[in-house]
Symmetry: C2
Amino acid sequence: MRYYHDSDETLNYEQVNRAVEAVFREHARGHVQMPPKVYITFDHGDFRTMPAYVPSLGIAGVKIVNVHPDNRAAGLPTVMALTVILDVDTGIPKAIINATRLTDMRTGAAGAIAAKYLSPKKEVILGVIGSGKQAESQVEAISKELTITGIRVWSREEKNALAFAARFRDYSCTSTSIEKACDADVVVTTTPSRKPIVMHEWIHEGTHINAIGADAPGKEELDPLILKRAKVFVDDRPQAIHSGEINVPITKGLFHAHDIAGTLGEVVVGVKGRKKPDEITVFDSTGLAIQDLAIAGLAMAGGKWVELPFP
Amino acid sequence: MRYYHDSDETLNYEQVNRAVEAVFREHARGHVQMPPKVYITFDHGDFRTMPAYVPSLGIAGVKIVNVHPDNRAAGLPTVMALTVILDVDTGIPKAIINATRLTDMRTGAAGAIAAKYLSPKKEVILGVIGSGKQAESQVEAISKELTITGIRVWSREEKNALAFAARFRDYSCTSTSIEKACDADVVVTTTPSRKPIVMHEWIHEGTHINAIGADAPGKEELDPLILKRAKVFVDDRPQAIHSGEINVPITKGLFHAHDIAGTLGEVVVGVKGRKKPDEITVFDSTGLAIQDLAIAGLAMAGGKWVELPFP
């Protein structure tokens, strides 16, 4: 049994995007096993258990990932993850993978695949709401699929937005108001907000939005009126209904499961998608266990490991 | 993050039985989080993901365990397990534990606790159906709770029963017919059978049965007529209905959820149990994630580990 610590060291978004795109294709075809995420809740956070099996990759396993919002004060990441990979033929654990950074990357890659298929054009101004790790991952991953001609970033803490802008100065990144950040071809929202912060009137026709932040019941970033105007694609129907951007509007009766336009997998295989340049499209990302398996496969192909005795 | 390899080295059934008894008490009080096991199925086996949280122990985590019946041919155990323990306050993975042997032990301990409370007497003749690892664990664990004056073991392969009898000669263990093995005060069934092998007419009044083998849909060891005659206690209602000894009879309409007499936790806290010496009692064991956490806590207190870099 191998433990992969620096599991992201040899990875780049070109290959991660392709691997994630491939598992969304498998998802659309119904060729994966992926039961719903299971949540355990603590006083100061939670953790989620995400088992899956992708037969086409011959890979199966479980990601275990926590969310503890107060961790920054303790000098720890808010989100940390491990993935355990089992041998399909014998069930023996083959690998344990430090999946903290991989979780960022596979989420970035899903946003990139959504943007690749749903962006109104190939050369885009990117609006970025939030300036944390996932905001970075979205930009890096999307940059491999679209040509980014400018970035408008907003953060609640302006100094964070300025630091983000400096980091992405090659893309003409500037710190702006949230309203101005929404005036873009592709908007990505990456905050842990529990109430809408992106307003309906700020989003113009033709925009594509990656709604990334909402990944648990009670979280939402978008004015529900945006969802009513838009074609809303999800990564996985049950998971999005339970914990994605649409979860609160569904609970309030402002959005319904039958309003979902399709899944990202259906977009990738071409049966669903943007039909007109002036449509607003939304990708509601909750993060799928099959994305974790896809990137785990890459990490195991190139990463460094230490051998652990088992059984 | 620590990896515990020889995690069972310092454990004994006295302490494991007590730890498992304590979590069943917590279970009865509703003081645990334990979502249903999640199954992923392969062509030649399956694996189960078992998250849980026991606040009174301050312990949370996930056991991942496979069942691959053909593994013996490959020289591997049929069942192998890892448990990942997370820090409750920060969510950081604290420990990864080789839980293969711990799984045997915590299952033995549940049988021992059931026998402690449900056996018709303190000095018992033990009937053992099957002669594998779990049969051994049941004997070893029960021996700490009851005085075993004799063992009657049956196995499909007589040579296995003879080897088992030799191993437990201190308890006057003899290899017998299955019918004779059922003529005992406490009977434990530990086979992977998918059809009843213990017949109604072989079980006399007053017997307690630990039904251990059935742990997945389609598995059963007991003639359903036994269940109709007996008081049937389960480890966990939803899990037993899904995959315990009662799962097939329930599917066939021969047993009903409302026929369940109670849970082992309810027996431990004293609200349910054997009322008369001539009652037949059955404990339907499927194996709970909280048992895995209980024994993980013991393993972490005394086991050897290697330190792994994380995050």
